[in-house]
């Protein structure tokens, strides 16, 4: 019995940092409508800054002073990020800022690497709290007890701030109606900066507080962000008590999981989340969001049109160029083009649900990696012929998308996004922890194509035909009645329902279709590389696709293709450099700020302006 209590207390203590980070994320989202992906990075910064400060400042006062200062420092960094990057793009489509925050993640990762090095840092013990207290005979670290005591105080302080102070009133008002608050004479820019700073400071405190238990390393940012999203989804977006309850729930669950089911700690969390969401789709204490409010991604103003003669000629020329490429290009160019085509198909499949369907998925890698793993597992365990295994990739990914979609489709906007992310983490944790099946980190290797396809040239054409075929199929569907129905459901779900369209069913089919195409890309990928690792299922992979779609431009399918070519090429050149993440992050942020409509959107606007100038010139 005492053992269970000890486990419970460990869980409670772990909840402190998680709650701090989750509440910060929730607060920022509520006011600015930005899902701050860089929140994990701020947490990581908190840990590193905390370690450094604790080395400088002596004693117990120094320890707690260091934690306090860390939060303030991270708050200032958050404010800087908001002023320098985000403030410039508030008028861009709301989820466009996501891409910017991802750029921030990359920049912070490399800056941390530059400043603190690649070595993990052990956090110092809290002075005066080094030992354990015995509770019913079980040792419980003193620091844990302190954390357990601190967390409710933080919750109360935040609750007081939000419900009882003037700042809190502004924050709540802005959460409900941003424009109205602006109309009432509140300086929105500073309110946003303030809230961003506060949320960042909370993440920083979280990072510093957990130091004596966990330390600091460069993987912390991504490790926590998945868990934080689960907490926010379970608790209910924008609810502080909800975040608290969920943080406790998940942390306690983890503590017990580590003790009893060490092989499935990660999966357990997502199972609980799925269970909660079946009963309460908007989380334990969350309220229903007005659909479309932030699910809409820069609704296109003009109808889509089939390509005119110029577009067709251009596309045909491009395809002819790709087909004749092996005649004169170096082998490494062929490899690069294979990577681009695979990635372009993956991005196009995301664009299909995101651009056409208005469903922003944060977890599309589940289907790319899922398809790759499905084929690889068949080959690895049963020696299935490549052709059959390859077919299995889109099939399995499509079925997976159907299953995951069934849960996610019921929600919309940011809840949908978070849930897809959580599910992709579930798939990732399966690949990562089910070692007997997937070999975990070691990945599945020796997955090569059949003899007739083995070799750079045959596989190049194989990829080209299927990849381009997949993209054109998606394009065709966008212009079909089904594609129109999907768009109708995005533009006005109410009108669509009042017109006999079963919006959710259309969306589910679209989601499964997109999953299938992502799976096809995954199948092409695994046989071109000969191996697959859990990294193909990671959040970063999903983000890559998101970035590509946003960078290229949400409004056209070509955007995804152009974005994929751009990112793959840039990455190809940059990864040779030591601090390539920093550069890539800066490139992404620059594109976001300079071209808020994406590359294709901006080019198109320029072209339109030129054409207009041409027409006006003769007069």
């Amino acid at each position: 019995m005492a053992f269970y209590l000890a486990l419970f207390l460990t869980g409670l203590a772990n909840a402190a940092a998680l709650f701090l980070v989750a509440s910060g994320l929730s607060l920022i989202f509520g006011v600015t409508r930005i899902v701050n992906f860089a929140h994990g990075s701020l947490y990581m910064l908190g840990a590193f800054i905390g370690v450094t400060l604790m080395q400088v400042l002596p004693g117990a006062v120094g320890f707690w002073g260091a934690i306090l200062l860390t939060g303030l420092a991270v708050g200032v960094i958050g404010a800087l990020v908001e002023i320098v990057v985000l403030r410039r793009i508030y008028r861009a489509p709301e989820l466009f800022q996501l891409v910017a925050t991802f750029g921030v993640i990359l920049v912070i990762q490399d800056l941390a690497l530059m400043i603190w090095g690649a070595e993990d840092r052990l956090g110092p013990r809290a002075p005066g709290l080094r030992g354990v207290w015995r509770i019913f005979g079980e040792p419980v670290p003193k620091y844990d007890i302190v954390l357990i005591a601190i967390t409710p105080v933080i919750l109360l302080a935040l609750w007081y701030l939000i419900t009882r102070t003037r700042l809190g009133i502004l924050v709540r008002a802005a959460t409900q109606d941003r424009e109205m608050v602006g109309a009432l004479g509140v300086n929105q820019a500073w309110l946003f900066t303030g809230v961003f700073a506060l949320g960042s400071a909370l993440a920083g405190w979280g990072g510093a507080l957990q130091l004596p238990k966990g330390g600091a390393d460069l993987l912390m940012d991504f490790n926590i962000i998945g868990t934080v999203f689960v907490v926010v989804v379970i608790g209910g977006m924008g609810s502080l008590p909800g975040a608290f309850i969920a943080a406790v729930l998940i942390s306690v669950l983890n503590a017990f999981g580590v003790a009893f089911l060490p092989q499935s700690t990660l999966v357990l969390m997502f199972v609980v989340m799925a269970a909660v969401l079946i009963v309460r789709p908007y989380g334990l204490l969350g309220r229903e969001e007005v659909a479309g409010e932030h699910g809409q991604v820069g609704a296109p103003e003009s109808p889509i049109r089939p390509y005119g003669p110029r577009g067709i000629v251009l596309t045909a020329f491009l395809l002819a160029l790709l087909a004749s490429l092996p005649g004169f290009a170096e082998p490494f160019v062929l490899t690069l083009v294979i990577d681009i085509v695979v990635f372009a198909l993956f991005a196009a499949s995301l664009h299909f649900i995101l651009g056409t369907g208005g469903m922003v998925s944060f977890g599309h890698a589940a289907f790319f990696g899922g398809g790759a793993y499905a084929a690889a597992l068949l080959v690895f365990h049963t020696d299935t012929p490549m052709e059959l295994a390859f077919l299995f990739a889109p099939l399995a990914a499509g079925l997976l998308a159907l299953a995951i979609g069934w849960f996610c489709i019921r929600l919309s906007g940011v809840y949908f996004a978070m849930l897809t992310l959580a599910f992709s983490q579930l798939v990732w944790s399966l690949a990562f922890q089910w070692r007997s099946l997937t070999r975990g980190d070691d990945g599945l290797i020796n997955i090569w194509p059949a003899d007739w396809l083995n070799g750079p040239l045959p596989y190049y054409y194989f990829t080209l035909i299927l990849g381009v075929g997949g993209i054109l199929t998606l394009r065709h569907i966008i212009h079909s009645p089904f594609g129109y129905a999907l768009r109708a459901g995005r533009d006005s779900p109410r009108q669509a329902e009042a017109m006999g369209i079963d919006v959710k069913r259309v969306q589910l089919v679209a989601f499964a279709l997109a999953g299938m195409m992502a799976g096809l890309a995954g199948g092409l990928f695994v046989f071109s590389k000969g191996s697959v690792f859990p990294t193909e299922l990671e959040i970063a992979k999903s983000f890559d696709a998101l970035i590509v779609v946003f960078l290229g431009g949400v409004k056209t399918l070509a955007g995804g293709v152009v974005g994929a070519s751009f990112l793959t090429s840039v990455e190809h050149w940059l990864t040779r450099l030591e601090y390539w993440r920093l550069l890539l992050g800066l490139v992404i942020i620059a594109v976001v700020i300079l071209m808020p409509e994406g590359i294709v959107g901006t080019l198109r606007r320029q072209a339109l302006r030129l054409r207009r100038a041409d027409e006006e010139a003769p007069r």
Binding site: P481, Y484, R487, R490, D491, Q495, M499, I501
Partner: protein, 256 residues
């Protein structure tokens, strides 16, 4: 005249607040009927319960004798009930005619076709509907640049696509210029006469109501306080009390 729609003791409460409190009425075939009442009387709530956007707390809705209470909007639409909304909900990323084509695609049950080109489908038929509301000149303009009054007419064209037997219009002329209002309601009245369909509409403009409605119902604080011809409603003391000071409006409308 046969009865098309019947509502029986419809009730909707929000946390104890009764938005609609035991409302019963019927709409007959070929009838143009108005539902009026002050702001917050429960008109839109009533409409939303009839077409499935809201589930009633209690009460029943029958369409030609078939119980449709609580059915989703799309099923009620398929049973031949059209609907326009107070705030128009057209598809902003489509052209005017594509909005109509979308309704036709749904009506002809082609929603899950993947091979066809949507903009080629039912174009002629869609043009015909646009002609009914005199929008054929603007067929290929993006929906997002349409003037408000034109949007309202487009909504009407869309609502007619599945040849409904009953059309519910929530404030069809709200936000329009006075002359355009009369024009639009005249159009609706013509359609009612030519196609023999029934229309139930809510409206704040009494000129429009008394000029066109065959029958008028008055809703106040969730309760139906009058249901009859224009003359009966106008002389009803309860109605005059609700529209305190609005009595002159009625008389002017009557004289006009």
């Amino acid at each position: 005249m046969t009865e098309i729609l019947r509502a029986e003791r419809l009730r909707k409460s929000y946390d104890g607040f009764l938005a609609v409190d035991g409302v019963s009425f019927s709409v007959r075939a070929g009838e143009l009927k108005a539902l009026i009442g002050p702001n917050g009387a429960g008109k839109s709530t009533c409409f939303n319960m009839l077409t499935g956007q809201l589930k009633p707390t209690a009460g029943e809705v029958y369409l030609r004798g078939t119980r449709i209470t609580g059915k989703p909007p799309r099923e009620i639409w398929r049973m031949g009930v059209g609907r326009t909304f107070q705030i128009t909900g057209t598809y902003r990323s489509m052209s005017v005619i594509e909005n109509v084509q979308m309704a036709l695609i749904s009506h002809h049950r082609r929603l899950f076709s993947f091979g066809l080109r949507a903009w080629k489908l039912y174009r002629e038929e869609a043009l015909e509907f646009l002609r009914t509301v005199s929008l054929e000149d603007q067929a290929d303009r993006p929906c997002s640049v349409l003037a408000y009054g034109d949007l309202k007419r487009l909504e009407l064209a869309i609502a007619l696509c599945h040849r409904p037997r009953l059309l519910l219009m929530d404030e069809p002329t709200a936000g329009m210029a006075p002359s355009a209002r009369i024009e639009l309601m005249q159009l609706v009245a013509d359609i009612v006469r030519d196609q023999g369909l029934s229309v139930l509409f809510t409206e704040h403009d009494m000129d429009v109501v008394f000029a066109h409605a065959h029958h008028i119902m008055v809703l106040n604080r969730g309760k139906l306080i009058a249901d009859g011809t224009a003359e009966e409603v106008r002389s009803d003391p309860k109605v005059q009390e609700v529209y305190l000071g609005g009595g002159t409006l009625f008389k002017e409308a009557g004289r006009a």
